[in-house]
Subunit: 276 residues, 2 copies
DNA sequence: CGTGGTCTTGACAGACGTCAATAAGGGTGG
DNA sequence: CCACCCTTATTGACGTCTGTCAAGACCACG
């Protein structure tokens, strides 16, 4: 694990890597600078537990790259992921987890930690930060609503397709000139399954079915080529073709920040191939 | 529909009817008094639409009695209820509903409306109110987490039982001396089904099964006698018997306020009966 | 080149949603 | 006060979706 003292410069480097609607971009320059004083960049491996209910950690920070899962188990071992913390998101700010929630790294994660005490003090002082926090929480609620609605009102296949579509907002994604797009599923099947309340097997089957129908193309286990976005939206049971990028999608509201994966590298290798 | 100008007195009457953890109790006397100036008590019938996405209503207020449902439909007509607004809850404060949400009365509802403009101004002025708002939103998030987890990680039967148990926190409920309890399901089966992402038929079957096993007793369609709370908790797949009233249950955090139904009236009629 | 983990595929069973018919209330008007 | 009707709840029968189990393929890593 990599620990280092973050200079203000490094932090703003990190912040610069985040897209415009990341939390960092909202809080204003002054707050950002004051936070930087206690910030430290850290890299944690996948599956590391950052926080669970009986360990009142002082973990507050922002995810720079990678993904965290906020989850809870049922007694019979079924797991439900309540939130995917994506690059640009604040994490650990919630004190209210009295139930058995845990916060874990879903992938290797680079994050920027703040001293809890300083953070709280800063929140008390800085109205801009407080307002940003408020807006962030509103976004978090909206995201959870999307998830709940998806799980509750859509069938597994629809869920999975809907997830693929709005994953464009927070997973490494690159639109291609011909209307297609390439996405990188950097989180594992298991996590996707437990987010969408389905099974990894069903995910596989749906993926293959979509490929058979020519809507997507599976390059490898973690790279999918979207061939027909409209047909996908149709299949997801969405009102209409979800707008490619900009609005309407609650998930993208908070996270325009992407994973920062070198998505280009895999592209050339597959570029010329016919869809045979 | 009943419209009247609320005097400060009437409002505090209404507020007095709310239990301690209702939103009203949190905002402090001054804010409460200033709100009362523009408040008006109103009674709306069941199924009345209070708000939907393309009608940017100025509806802000507090539910005094009855229940609101905050919901969204899928294209195929499946509905998911995202939140039950219970007595003591603030409603309408969320501006962020760009998706096709609607807010409707699930039962006949008595509510206390505020002028949106005054309310917003008051929020800007009063720090206490703002903090209460923040806490309220945190509670709302926690409630939604509970729902999501319940839908995602529990099977239909478990969901239904879990719902029954924590409905003690927000539906008319009266604990009985012998450890039993009487609850009034003032919201219809359909709404419960769409909240828990299941069907009314399944709810019926589960109820009957629970009655066969002696865990509950169905007095009539909307009144249930809890006979064995521990066994119910077990059946719900909960870690242990959920505490009767006070803590641990996210749903009760925000709403200790109950429905205010004359629950006593039905009681004597069934009291002496053997469980045959 | 083994080994463990994740992903994929197939076979299978059962839970639960859907459809349809009946029962039970609750309200309204004669 | 009864008859009627319409909504909601209940019960039964049925089919299928999808989760589970088990085996195999595919990587990535050591």
């Amino acid at each position: 694990m990599l620990n280092e003292r973050a200079t203000a410069n490094e932090l703003s480097q990190g912040a610069a890597g985040l897209a415009t609607s990341g939390f960092c971009a909202e809080i204003g320059v002054t707050a950002c600078r004051r936070l930087a004083e206690t910030a430290q960049i850290e890299t944690v491996p996948a599956d590391k537990v950052l926080w669970h209910d009986d360990a009142p950690q002082t973990a507050v920070g922002i995810v720079l790259t990678g993904y965290l899962r906020f989850q809870r188990y049922s007694r019979e071992g079924r797991r439900q992921i309540l939130n995917l913390t994506v690059p640009g998101d604040l994490f650990g700010q919630e004190t209210e987890g009295r139930a058995g929630y845990t916060l874990e790294a879903a992938t290797e994660v680079r994050l920027c930690r703040f001293d809890r005490r300083s953070f709280d003090r800063l929140v008390a002082d800085d109205g801009t930060l407080r307002r940003a926090l408020y807006r962030f929480n509103a976004g978090r609620l909206e995201r959870l609503r999307w998830l709940t609605w998806t799980i509750g009102a859509l069938r597994p296949e629809e869920r999975i397709v809907a997830f693929l579509l709005n994953a464009r907002g927070f997973l490494p994604y690159r639109p291609l000139p011909d209307g297609a797009g390439l996405i990188s599923l950097s989180v594992g099947r298991r996590d996707i399954a437990d987010l969408l309340a389905t099974s990894v097997e069903t995910i596989c089957r749906v993926f293959k079915a979509l490929e058979r129908d020519g809507l997507i193309r599976l390059l490898d286990a973690s790279h999918i080529l979207f061939l027909d976005l409209d047909a996908l939206a149709e299949r997801a049971g969405l009102p209409h073709a979800a707008a490619p990028e900009d609005p309407a999608d609650p998930m993208t509201l908070v996270n325009a920040a992407r994973g920062g994966e070198p998505l280009v590298s895999i592209l050339p290798a597959w570029r010329g191939r016919r869809p045979d």
